[in-house]
Symmetry: D2
Subunit: 439 residues, 4 copies
């Protein structure tokens, strides 16, 4: 549990406008405002929390999300922007729709615009127009994958973005994106402060890998795991279909193996899961190849799930980066196939490898129901926060609660699968793979 | 937050057998035992928890679930039973499979039996045989709905059940069921103690309505909401298809409207949600019928989701009970149709009602991926608890953690939708229905 | 095989305008025109066809559908209408989209309008506006159930419809509907001829029951059978879940049991199928109830699929009609439950009935892929026929070919399951139900 | 329409045993036997069929499939085998189940065995045991993909297979497989005849590519197209998500582009379809690359569906073969990506390619409902034919009828998409791609 984390939410200034939410009695919505002093603790261990409080320390906590009684923005004059960045992820359209509906119907904000194709949309040379977002335009987008306003990878000049925001007169910007985008959001917030202008920046963390620090689940993750299990099912059937059949399913997960681990538990026919957090050897007594051979001897087929970021030690470490600043990983899927083929060729054992990479079939699907609901909350709480003048923050979720987390608190940290925690333990039980390391 | 709740877990006696889990180094499973002193607090509000602890009180908490280092049962001599009771619910087979796999592979327990058709299976006159449960028998049941060992509604004599358990020599019984079953489990535990015999009773709460006290989500709920949204989608399409089309979808929810509320958020095309927790009037200024008429005037179609337990004030209160002791509810679905038809006939407005009751199409589906994963944890933790000699408890889940909750702590209380909480608030925002009460 | 069927297609007049389809060489579409003399025979039995031809008779055949080289309408001046009538059916939006795309992109017709809510849309008092249909408007409707232009049941005055068509200046009308609609289409054609005006009427037969004479498969049928099997799956799981569990699934099929028969073959866990074409008795040696009892004795659960039009002999024959002129059937689903309950109560055998009526959950789904493809052909061929000046006809399908069938050839006849044919034979084999009649 | 095709079905000898099917009156199955003289004509064109018959020729026709009144085999003494060969295909388990159920329940044959892993299962050195196939073993396999008896690619020695059949005492063998398998079946039949032994060989054609001569649809094809459209949907969403996004979906189709063509019609968002039957150029006025550039200029995204056998002219023609004797095709998917990247790099246009290869996720799924039903008929008719002593034939399907087709009639011919036929025409209309050839 980290302790030196900045937990205070920044604000654009005094929120002095009375919210009209819940004033109308026959809407049945009264008395539901949340105060900034309502805070949710992170650590739920009785012993540690008791000890901390008794010793006079304050446990780590964040503001509870929800509607505020005092607003910063005057809805009749406000123009809002929404931008989606990076790789596609189930639920993008859900978040967009939720923000638009909440702004339009609950806060009476009628000027809402989508920035086309991610941060590119701020840069004049690309020539992207703004997209007007109205309830009727977004009403039926829940069952479409992708983002109706498009996306792009890669950074853009911070000052150019702010110039654009000023030119466009956008005073409240919702940024839906991952690591790179939230870092950009952080820089934007700082630069805005420096310029002394009042533009609110609210982030909604998007990471199909579920690797955002402090957050128990990011949107689209549940959907991704579900589709990933279909790919595993396919790999399993193909593997069983042939003598010494080996199904390899490569899943997303650059630094964190959450999709691989959860999908393996969701399908249950997996024999080996390889993730970035847990080292493995190809050779040696405990190595993958020997254990794979034993598995084939016993059952004549095997299923391997590999996260894209696993086994990076097997590649030279000249790091290359893509436009979003992500390290370009060497392809463990290809390497794995090569090693397996070589090994069994040497052993003169006929095998049949079936390789499945479902990546874009996962990223592009619409959200499932669970994510529909989750995204609708994210969007609403993002609007509540933005209207109250909060900035430099994201909407987070843990302990069954939605909270406000400062961008600074999550930047540069990454959530990972704990190799001695319950999730990985369960994967080991379910696969029976044991340690794949020679120590 | 309730304060006088019994949080201590009962045990059959001293757990003195060393667990062999994690002893084998090359399994990579070492050092993951959980201690009984690891406890998870329920309340995560910073202010209230700080105040409580500073004033010397102990906040409500429950034992963390997970493998224990000391076991009570000797696996070579242990015979276990599993029973599923009440209405079908997605995930029953997942829990069964997870228990069997964990007992067999991790604890080396080879005698595992399914009790056929719920509590009936204990009563000799029904003539049900025990079903031997082996890994190969349960390996492929994840994609089947229902329960492979069957179920039944209704109580059976507590003493007869214990007689049977003794006759069968079952020393550890996993009971998967709802309210009635967990009450029976509680009585069984007491009677077992009275008789001075050592039989462990571990409950896994099953309630498609998600209404178990203290537990944030029960298994099968996520799947149910997903399928329920399909029914709503159908109702919406049918309603839109005709002039003044009205789609009515009746969903489960005897006392708690969680499925109705969540499904309405998951589909977003619902105009009215009626749940047991929130009263509504048919007539009058704020009444449903008038608002429905206004909706039809404006949009020419409407979608109503009604939980089966809504509007019970409209029925006389001679209570009748089914075999499981559930109150037999009068049929609000039928009543709703009658009132609507009467109203619009009087108003001489042609309408077209399409009524959908998807109940059994929801209850009978296999679990979705989210529930697959959730159930696999439930089953594993139930086995960990049972092998450690714990009894009279269920496996619960809140604040992202699995815990041990005494049967006494949940009996007789019910979780309900909070009419002034975030969930219902969101439903009101999404539907725009407002208050349907004349006050 | 009927012999006195009118097979000649009516036409509005000489088709003298050269089609531009396929003129552009680099479209790769040249040389694909179909001639009216291309005809498809219905009977494919070698012996009968040989005998008929040798004896100088002409076997029954219909014009092959497809693009014609000469057109009747001048696309620049043409205004087209589309109307969808009766109950919803998967694929309506597909047909609409296909017609719009073909007219717009291939024939350059830019004035295409949807008539709102079926035949109602022609009647001024209902106040429905025309809906302009453009490619962008219909581009994304494939994944929506229902009809974007709405529907209605019931007849309207033929002369009023024609008055409307004249007022609206619609010269080519595509009518998508069932029995009643096609009868109306036939009357429209006659009246149009009487009035000496030139309005083309092209029907696309819509019947979820698949009961249109001469046509091997109507659109939406494949999708319906697929969803129906989900309902059967649910009924089977529920039945197996309880001692003497009986799952009853009521499916569509007023006069023809095609959905029930096919769904039973698609799911394979059905024990009794009841359809309108095959009589059954409740009581007696061969009766359903006795056989059901035997089934329960042997397997302890049973699944019954009943088409809505089955067993009508059990109701008095005062016929009542709905607005579309369909006979209002008495509810065999309810009757079946009553008879079963009464029987087993008398026999003092406890049973557990689960009743599923998935009707609106079937009608409202989007088409599956097979129907997507099928509907896209129907729409295209309807446009080809209409542009060539054909009228009073529908697009039909048999022997793997799309054809033109005169409205007169199908009116008043109905396709039914042949009790001694291959389909019903297979149902009998799959269920093992045998004859349910005492003769 | 081919004319010199052998249409006579071989038989093992006189069928002299009276079938007991349909003897039992209360089964309602009487009078449904099919005679060998019932034949189904292939050509349904009125003009050509009339001309042919009038000129004294006999049109091409095949025996109608179905139960025969006289059987060759004595069920009490018969042992049957089933083998599945080649790549997985949705519906394999359906056919297996249908054969087993029909043999067991209708013909009272109790000795049915699965040959493990295709033709390998006949060769002792692989050490595969026979798998006993009983109704209870195959009852629940409909919802599993793959084949429960496994498969393998590659030929085996014909004489060794027959030795095995004799050793195993299998007198009736059902062979489910593609091109290679049916060729093997043909050789087996000849060799069996030479040896003067009486072993029946019934083929059920399996080809996911739908390329078997004379047959309108092979099993699993409908399912494959359905899943393929999901992949296209993903490619479309990904393409739309980015500026100049290009989605490439590689589908099965070595020599015939049926899956690609149908999936493009089933999803409708495809801009280019490349199939083996229709040549295309990369460069030049009509070439793919220039047209792709124009598409991107206009709409900023594009979707390309490519069948694996398309564009083989771009590879040198040293042919290599896999173990089943299939030509090893060079990878057009990779080549396509390279050409596109090169072209746009030269043009200095930034693009974003997303490549999807769903092959194994298609092959491994269970059959959809349509294929469930279709396979159940195939299996039943295969048994009817086999029991009647027919051999050297397959069960085929055209003109809505199941027929017996001699192995010789289909060997060495392949069904392909007709470049000037209705299917390809519709693809051209739907994509608007035009000719991609410079001529």
């Amino acid at each position: 549990m980290p302790s030196k984390i900045d937990t205070q939410i920044d604000s654009l200034g005094n929120a002095t406008i009375k919210s009209t939410l819940g004033l109308n009695d026959d809407e049945g919505l009264q008395n539901t405002f949340v105060k900034d002093s309502d805070r949710v603790i992170l650590d739920v261990d009785l012993n540690s929390i008791t000890k901390k409080i008794k010793s006079g320390k304050t446990p780590l906590s964040f503001e509870l999300a929800g509607p505020r009684e005092e607003l910063y923005f005057d809805s009749s004059k406000l123009k809002c922007g929404i931008v989606t960045c990076g790789g596609l992820c189930p639920g993008l359209n859900d978040v967009i729709r939720s923000i638009v509906f909440e702004l339009h119907y609950r806060y009476d904000v009628k000027n809402i615009y989508g920035i086309k194709h991610g941060l590119e949309g701020f840069i004049p040379e690309y020539g992207h127009d703004l997209v007007e977002l109205t309830p009727s335009k977004v009403e039926n987008i829940l069952n479409m994958g992708g983002s109706i306003i498009g996306s792009s990878r890669g950074e853009q000049e911070i000052s150019e973005i702010i110039d654009s925001l000023e030119r466009m007169n956008i005073r409240l910007l919702f940024m839906i994106g991952g690591d790179g985008t939230l870092t950009a959001a952080s820089h934007l917030t700082e630069e805005i402060k420096k310029r002394g202008i009042n533009i609110g920046i609210i982030g909604i963390p998007k990471t199909i890998d579920n690797d955002i620090n402090l957050i128990s689940k990011s949107f689209g993750f549940d959907t991704s795991v579900e589709i990933a299990t279909d790919a595993i099912k396919g790999g399993h059937i193909e593997a069983k279909g042939y003598r010494n059949g080996i199904g390899i399913i490569k899943l997303m997960g650059r630094y964190s193996g959450f999709i691989a681990a959860n999908a393996a538990l969701g399908e249950q026919n997996v024999n080996f899961v390889l993730i970035p957090e847990v080292d493995f050897d190809f050779d040696g007594k405990n190595g993958l190849l020997g254990k794979l051979e034993k598995r084939l001897e016993k059952r004549s087929h095997a299923v391997i799930v590999v996260a894209e970021g696993a086994g990076q030690k097997y590649f030279d470490n000249k790091k290359r980066y893509d436009k979003s600043g992500n390290i370009l990983l060497d392809d463990i899927g290809t390497r794995l196939q090569q090693e397996i083929k070589k090994y069994f060729k040497r052993k003169k054992i006929q095998i049949s490898i079936k390789y499945i990479d479902p990546s874009y079939m996962i990223r592009s699907v619409p959200a499932n129901t669970n994510d529909h609901i989750y995204c609708s909350f994210l969007g609403r709480d993002a609007v509540h926060a933005g209207m109250a003048g909060k900035t430099g923050m994201i909407i987070g979720y843990y302990n069954d609660k939605f909270v406000h987390i400062p961008l600074k608190a999550i930047a540069g940290k990454r959530k990972q699968v704990n190799p001695s925690g319950k999730l990985w333990h369960s994967v080991l039980e379910s696969t029976g793979q044991g340690s794949l390391q020679n120590i």
